[in-house]
């Protein structure tokens, strides 16, 4: 059986808008709203074609999951949920760091 390499979704790889749409299940319009709200940041906001880090797939898929799971019509609400989740994750990471110094 062939083995397939898993790709780490981090800051290093890049994706186009079309790839991000395909891999996240969000529409292009929804991605634009998330960028407007600051939930997703392309490498260069002013560039004519946006490029995103592959880490954005994680954020965009989380957004799609939250949208579907809570049947949210408003992507702005999704953006706020993402921001709150990010803060929780940052706090959890800090907690882990502090515990590692105990």
């Amino acid at each position: 059986m062939d083995s397939t390499s898993a790709l780490v979704l981090d800051e290093r790889g890049t994706l186009s808008v079309a790839q991000l749409v395909e891999q996240s299940g969000l529409s292009e319009a929804e991605l634009h709203v998330l960028v407007d709200c600051g939930a997703l940041a392309p490498h260069d906001l002013r560039a004519s074609t946006w490029l995103f880090s592959t880490r954005c797939v994680v954020t965009a898929r989380t957004a799609r999951r939250l949208r579907d799971d809570f049947a949210l019509d408003d992507v702005h609400a999704v953006a706020i949920m993402l921001r709150l989740r990010e803060r929780i994750e940052a706090l959890e990471q800090e907690l882990r760091h502090l515990r590692s110094l105990r």
């Binding site: 397939t4 898993a6 979704l9 891999q23 529409s27 799971d69 809570f70 049947a71 990471q93």
Partner: protein, 309 residues
């Protein structure tokens, strides 16, 4: 196939409007979604509710569900023989799939996808949780999955088939990271692309090392005289034992950095290992040692509580 009452799962009448169904689902999602719920069995309850909503929110799928007729929940039943044809022409083998598979693969899905029965449709993405030992994460590893997936065979008949997937994970994967395995989701339909497999990584705690990003932390117990006089100690790092020079006057909590001995990634980036000094004292001392400590006490003017006075 076992019947599930999707209307009962959402607590609505069979005549409920789309808005009533959505409102009922939202209320239950707020109650049982694992991200927000403190209820017992929240995840199981949420899955049932989400499965029901996935079908009832789509008018076409809801109509297909209604055509299955009314049965008691859990009853074995078979859909009418022409059932699949009226909803996109997909054939089904009803014995080895469940109700959720049936609707997930129904042609003419929501979210603006093409409604033509022969239009290419991408395969569904899969997600899997992967638990790695610290050593596997440190060195990279190959893992094998057994999955049961519902996918159409060569005649387009939907079946639940076992699938083995082998995946290579690079070294330096950290706890909480997500990875994408391209093309290892469900097969695409009518020439659509295959779905992807997404992996959620958990790295098990290690008795010696704690990771923070690519950096590693470990405790370094030192005897009081080693901390005062300095010492060279043997340190077990994940990549092998090394000699570490502990400088004289090392205090408890001080971090001694061992460069490049943290986790490393295939692209060459790597973290550091930090040995955090701990001063430990012997619990049993003999007469001679007690006398020596006594001499040290008499000779020393050191006051560890000077800042408290």
């Amino acid at each position: 196939m076992k019947y599930k009452d999707y209307y009962a799962a959402l607590g609505v009448e069979r005549t409920a409007t789309a808005d009533q169904i959505k409102a009922a689902y939202r209320k239950l999602a707020r109650k049982f979604h694992p991200d927000v719920s403190k209820e017992k069995d929240a995840e199981e309850r949420f899955k049932d509710v989400a499965e029901a909503y996935e079908t009832l929110k789509d008018p076409e799928k809801r109509a297909a569900y209604d055509q299955l007729g009314r049965h008691a929940p859990g009853d074995e039943f078979r859909p009418p023989p022409d059932w699949g044809q009226s909803f996109g022409g997909t054939q089904f083998s009803f014995d080895d799939v469940d109700l959720a598979d049936l609707f997930a693969n129904l042609a003419g899905q929501s979210r603006g996808r093409s409604r033509a029965p022969n239009a290419p449709r991408p395969g569904q993405d899969f997600e899997a949780a992967v638990r790695l030992t610290f050593e596997q994460a440190f060195t990279g590893t190959e893992i094998e999955f057994d999955m049961a997936v519902a996918e159409p065979d060569e005649r387009g008949v939907l079946r639940r088939v076992p699938r083995k997937v082998k995946v290579r994970l690079p070294k330096g994967v950290t706890d909480g990271q997500k990875l994408r395995v391209p093309g290892k989701g469900a097969k695409g339909v009518n020439g659509g692309r295959d779905g992807d497999l997404y992996l959620d990584i958990t790295v098990e705690a290690h008795p010696l090392y704690r990771a923070d990003g690519l950096d590693l932390y470990m405790e370094l117990p030192l005897a009081p005289w080693e901390a005062v006089l300095g010492a060279t100690v043997e340190l077990p790092t994940p990549a092998g034992r090394i000699s570490l020079k502990v400088p004289a006057g090392t205090h408890a909590g001080q971090k001694l950095r061992v460069g490049g001995r943290g986790l490393s990634r295939p692209d060459g980036t790597s973290g550091h290992l930090y040995a955090v000094a701990q001063i430990v004292v012997p619990t049993v001392v003999d007469e001679r040692q007690r006398a020596l400590f006594g001499q040290l006490k008499d000779a020393s003017t050191f006051n560890p509580r000077a800042h408290m006075t």
